[in-house]
Symmetry: C2
Subunit: 286 residues, 2 copies
């Protein structure tokens, strides 16, 4: 394994198997060809051509589009294509910062290949020498996603209608038991992206990244059952484990690689793949 292998693994996909998903004449996602045909056959209001899936022109407005996508999500769950619906809604649109055109149950986003957003928080504790250590979470063994895998201190999906700041407070309370006053010290430090083909479709994720420096006497405590335990790791130990193992939830190595780059642990003099890592963390957007 290498750092770059983790980035490549998160970007394995072949767009030739997909056609555009459009709303209001604008590209908002990607759907597998056979799935587009199946949807157009089974679901009223869905139309397809060889290069795109879209909604009938009389279906206009956020609510009407969201209703049709909800029908599709239910159909997908009933037919077993996706896991049960979450009742948590993600925006469907042309990009971050642009008002969404519809909303879609989180469980169905990969089928439509819409861009999903999330946040990941690096929990940092500085030693007496100033060197950062990182809080590492071990995920609970009963989770559907990545049971027992290593994770960032706090991470979560970004539902529609919530600010990132509010979601950060909520997730940090649920996952690490951290009070808002402490969480508000988190510094927004950037974002990364990846595009991964999955059995459901195309997982196009953008993760907003935060560094939260914690006092040495604060220990995160999970409150929602997602995390089994927390441990404080040296940056050297984190880097070696990320590079050499598959012990981490699939997208967390990318967050760690970004952290190692921003904090001078990976440098262009010492890491021949330095620019490939940086380019790989922000692949061309489709």
């Amino acid at each position: 394994m290498s750092f770059l292998d983790h980035i490549r693994a998160c970007n394995a996909h072949d767009l030739s198997g997909f056609r555009r998903f459009e709303l209001n004449g604008q590209p908002v996602g990607w759907v597998r060809h056979a799935m587009a045909e199946a949807m157009a056959d089974a679901l009223p209001g869905f139309l397809t051509t060889p290069d795109r899936l879209t909604l009938a022109p009389d279906i206009t407005g956020f609510d009407a589009r969201s209703d049709r996508l909800a029908d599709a999500a239910h159909w997908l769950a009933e037919t077993g294509v996706i896991t049960p619906l979450r009742g948590e809604f993600y925006p469907v649109g042309t990009g971050w910062g642009v008002p969404p055109l519809a909303r879609l149950d989180r469980a169905a986003t990969a089928v439509f290949g819409t861009e999903s957003y999330g946040l990941h928080v690096n929990g940092v504790v500085r030693g007496a020498d100033g060197a950062p250590r990182l809080w590492v979470a071990t995920r609970a063994r009963d989770r559907i996603i990545a049971p027992g895998k290593l994770d960032n201190m706090v991470a979560g999906g970004q539902p529609i209608g919530l600010t990132l700041a509010d979601n950060l407070r909520k997730e940090a309370q649920e996952e690490a038991g951290l009070p808002a006053a402490l969480v508000d010290r988190a510094v927004s430090v950037g974002a990364l992206g990846y595009c991964l083909e999955t059995p459901e479709g195309l997982k196009r994720d953008r993760l907003f990244l935060y560094d939260l420096e914690l006092p040495p006497d604060v220990t995160p405590v999970n409150t929602d059952g997602e995390v089994e335990s927390f441990a404080l790791w040296s940056l050297e130990a984190v880097a070696a484990s990320v590079r050499d193992s598959q012990d981490w939830k699939f997208n967390v190595p990318l967050v760690i690689i970004d952290f190692l780059i921003r904090h001078g642990h990976l440098t262009p003099d010492d890491e021949p793949e330095y620019l490939a890592l940086i380019d790989g963390l922000r692949p061309p957007q489709r």
Copy 2:
């Protein structure tokens, strides 16, 4: 003006006017079509087809390739296509971290569209409240490049055969009079890239970025005539000036935008173009 306008300005180019420049069968740059034809006519050892410019197959090895490129650089300077040669050599190759295939005078890199490397150092001073301020250089009025424009505290091109750490010490001494012991505290924090069409050709630059936190009692002092004066600016003042003015050397706004993102001054909740800025700082590499 907007932050994104500065990024777009650094990436204005049309590759249809260029053909590949190859060495040893590998792509290392881009050359304007007419320039490729002119070189093949005027310079022994240069061959061209409609898609590429390259060297004759009997010209092998780093030194022989570099000799042919030196001939071309002299011819370009004599015919007035480029400014006088610098006697400073840049690597020509397939990318950072890969041994270069040749060397080329810095003045000729844009004609061949080879990837050039440089380093930029953000000089940071933290106030009593922890808020970072930045040392801003005003470039000397007698410079050929960007006279009188605002600049980072330290910046320089990366010649072949020098480590970035050594170049950083050298540039920080020349441009800001900083001792090596202080400069070695600089933290490598990432890299950005841009690709700009110029009268000479294609300027494909990758900048390695450093944050150097200076004690409040240290003032940079220029020793090589490149800087007229230094001043300590609040981050708000830097951000407003970068966003709204053309007072900065053309590529420095990109370094500042990256700094504003990494230090939480630009956030995804407040900046609708947040992801476009992040993507724009690492455009797809050609």
